[in-house]
């Protein structure tokens, strides 16, 4: 058992922290969050320093690292700011589908653009009134000549309004039984005629990650944009969700840590009733609970990411990390708001958006109940 980060991992962490300290301006983040926009040029800058696509191989301009290092950067960025940090780490959302399963030509076509910050990617999996049960979907892709023709509607597509490419789950074989065996993942470029963003929602949390509704109306896509084999889409999507849940656990871990840092600094300086808040026993115990839940989340998340990189992660292990890390983020951010009192509720003091962002992390990519279903599947197994 080795619990220490390696020298290069520590360097990545340090570089991510220095980048965030230099580029994540508090006032700018608060202002841009209202417009649900990212600061100009920040994706490019973080890509230039290797933070975007850190887990892509070097031959597609990636960092040649693993998911563990992605999680370290996600944690560090969100510790500095949960809204901007999570948006940056989502700038390559679902590109993992290409990374893990795409053929070399597809990888070469798209991954360098993402790793260089020239475009962002997103995933279009969910459909209206569907939840995360994707065993039946309505979006179709028909093979016409060498091309695919897509029709349908997708919802809860993060940053669909700014993405350069969409990884779209669609039914390519309507006759397959079960229907999931006839689903495929197809890459769609944003400029494709017939593709439109029909709605951008105002978010409760994650205000730099607005959810979009997409409409596909006879969108023509080259046949080579199919990821993996036809009919593999459902399984590949589930694999991606597993990976993404570990990524979200990393974001949530940083969100918890960032809220904790701010609460700790506040209670050490704020005096009420003649002493520092940090001198009250109840405050000390609140901090103890917060710190303990962050540590629990950290080791569960690191362990899940490490297992992923070893190629032996189980879906329920990713769900455990997501469940516990997002729960830690929620409870720590909630307590941070409480400890800061009236200031905690004010936008200027930041913890209020850590609190909202934590809620986003807790629900997106499966609610706590959905994670428990996955965990239960994994630990109970098949009943006789």
């Amino acid at each position: 058992m080795e619990f220490n980060l390696s020298k290069s991992q520590k360097e990545i962490q340090k570089a991510a922290w220095e980048f965030a300290r230099g580029e994540f301006d508090k006032e700018m983040i608060i202002e841009l969050s209202k417009a649900q926009k990212l600061p100009d040029g920040i994706v490019e800058k973080s890509a230039e320093l290797g933070f975007i696509g850190i887990h892509f191989p070097e031959d597609v301009n990636g960092g040649g690292m693993g998911l563990f290092e992605f999680v370290l950067v996600a944690e560090t960025f969100c510790r500095k700011d949960s809204t901007l940090g999570s948006a940056l780490m989502f700038s390559g959302y679902a590109a993992e589908c290409i990374l893990r399963n795409g053929d070399p030509a597809l990888k070469t076509k798209f991954l360098p653009q993402i790793a260089d910050g020239r475009i962002t990617s997103t995933g279009a999996f969910l459909e209206p009134n569907q939840g995360y049960d994707l065993t039946r979907i309505s979006t179709t892709a028909q093979a016409i000549g060498d091309d695919w023709i897509l029709n349908g509607k997708k919802t809860f597509v993060p940053c669909g309004n700014t993405a350069g490419i969409f990884i779209v789950l669609c039914q390519t074989d309507a006759s397959a039984t079960p229907p999931a065996a006839g689903m495929s993942l197809i890459v769609v470029e944003t400029a494709s005629p017939g593709l439109s963003v029909s709605r951008v929602s105002q978010n409760l949390g994650g205000r730099m990650l607005p959810f979009c509704d997409l409409a596909f109306d006879n969108v023509r896509v080259p046949g080579a944009h199919l990821i993996g084999k036809p009919g593999s889409g459902y399984a590949l999507t589930q694999n991606f969700f597993t990976e993404n849940r570990i990524q979200i656990a990393g974001l949530a871990l940083g969100t918890a840590q960032g809220a904790f840092d701010r609460a700790l600094a506040y209670v050490k300086q704020r005096e009420q009733f003649g002493k520092k808040l940090a001198q009250f026993q109840v405050t000390r115990h609140k901090l103890a609970e917060m710190a303990a839940s962050i540590e629990t989340a950290r080791y569960l998340t690191y362990h899940a990411a490490w297992r992923f990189d070893q190629g032996k992660v189980e879906p329920h292990q990713a769900s455990m990390a997501k469940l516990m890390a997002t729960r830690a983020a929620m409870s720590v951010a909630d307590e941070a708001v409480q400890l800061l009192g009236g200031y905690g509720y004010m936008t200027e003091y930041e913890v209020e958006h850590f609190f909202r962002d934590a809620k986003q992390a807790e629900i997106f990519q499966g609610t706590p109940a959905a994670q428990k279903d996955i965990i239960a599947d994994g630990i109970i197994g098949k009943l006789k």
Binding site: I30, L126, N129, Q130, G131, Y132, D133, L134, T135, R136, F156, S201, Q202, N203, L204, G205, G206, F211, E271, Q272, F273, V282, M330, D334, V337, Q338, G341, G342, G344, Y345, M346, T347, E348, E352, H353, F355, R356, K359, Q360, E362, I363, F364, T367, P368, A369, K372
Partner: protein
């Protein structure tokens, strides 16, 4: 068996108030939330319709109604899912100070406007360095001939921008005992030296104009002291029971509303396989647990309403109720939001606003930690 004995008149009043909310308030809320303020006209409409300070006596233009009317007003406002038109704060927390402690001249001067909605009130206690700890207050009030000079900075003041009249807490710098130094003063909008600071951005309560207030050599006539000099703390203490009870009623009503939406949603929406959410066992148990908490809270609140209306001292119990119901509303919002799934993450879901709004309730009017401290003291611990 109902704990509260509502009469036909009460029910009739609730019906009229609900109609008023549906026509004059609810259609405007989205705009008010965007504007971060409610137009003064909305206050006047509410006052003219007889829904402000319902308890005020007829000689000042009021209706002299009992406490249950205040309860109804608070509950119905909570059901609108917005906080900007802070009628409960004005009618049942601030204006009662003037009614209880004001001179006859002050009452004649201000109460009619408070009732009609022409005078919107604010109470300025909290300071940047004095939140729940009022003894740490720094604002000063000094006598200068026939005038009083107020200096200081206040923050997190609800109705701060709209206020036509502020009740300001300040200390006499010559008095060393912080508890005997505090007095309350009536400061009208437009008094030279009384200015607004920033209109504060916050997590929720977006339609509520929370602001900083500044007093810089602000001179008011000496008649504008409210009650006796040095009695500020005593007056605050006397009013805290009702203030905390009103917060608890608001939190309870908000929690009831959020649970109702969630139950409706779970019954009318289904998963991809066509099974209504309400048929999932985990969802059922979650809803049952929350409904149980709601019922426990309701019984406690209704009992306290009875006791408070009967003039009993229930300071300890109202402190407990304030902390318990505001925690209930906060935790219930978080849990209910999970049942909405991703839809709960967008502002299209009404619960998203509720989730943001109720988070401040465990902080304002004395944090829940302060509530527990008070209860501990009274329990002889």
């Amino acid at each position: 068996m109902e704990i509260l004995k509502y009469t036909d008149e009460h029910h009739e009043f609730r019906k009229r108030l609900r109609t008023f909310m549906e026509t004059e308030v609810i259609p405007n809320i989205d705009q008010w939330e965007t504007d971060h303020i409610v137009p003064k006209e909305a206050w006047r409409k509410m006052g003219r319709a007889g829904f402000l300070c319902t308890w005020a006596s007829k000689e000042y233009g009021g209706q002299g109604l009992d406490f249950l009317y205040s309860v109804i007003s608070t509950e119905e406002m909570a059901k609108t899912n917005h906080t900007g038109l802070a009628a409960m704060l004005h009618s049942d927390i601030i204006v009662p100070y003037i009614n209880s402690f004001g001179s006859e001249a002050q009452k004649k001067k201000y109460l009619p406007g408070c009732i009609s909605g022409d005078i919107i009130t604010a109470v300025a206690m909290t300071e940047p360095d004095a939140g729940s700890d009022l003894a740490g207050m720094r604002s000063t009030a000094e006598m200068d001939g026939d005038e009083i000079i107020i200096n200081g900075a206040k923050t997190f003041i609800s109705n701060g921008i709209n206020a036509d009249l502020a009740i300001v807490a300040a200390k006499n710098p010559l008095e060393e005992n912080p508890y005997q130094a505090l007095s309350l003063y009536l400061v009208e909008d437009g008094t030279p030296g009384f200015t607004r600071g920033r209109h504060l951005d916050k997590m929720g309560f977006h339609s509520q104009d929370t602001a900083e207030l500044f007093f810089s050599n602000c001179r008011i006539p000496k008649e504008n002291i409210l009650g006796q000099p040095g009695m500020g703390f005593i007056m605050l203490m006397q009013k805290l029971q009702q203030e905390r009870l009103m917060c608890a009623i608001g939190a309870q009503a908000a929690a009831e509303l959020m649970l109702k939406w969630t139950i409706d949603y779970c019954k009318t929406h289904h998963d991809a396989a066509g099974k209504p959410f309400s048929k999932s066992q985990a969802t059922q148990f979650a809803l049952v647990e929350m409904m149980t908490e709601i019922k426990v809270g309701r019984a406690f609140i209704d009992k306290l309403i009875c006791e408070h209306a009967a003039g009993e001292n229930v300071v300890v119990e109202t402190s407990m109720a304030k902390y318990w119901t505001t925690d209930l509303a906060k935790n219930l919002a978080r849990r209910c939001l999970d049942l909405f799934g991703d839809f709960g993450l967008t502002e299209d879901c009404p619960l998203a606003r509720g989730f943001r709004d109720v988070r401040v309730m465990s902080i304002f009017a004395g944090t829940n930690e302060v509530m527990k401290g008070i209860a501990a003291k009274f329990m002889g611990l």
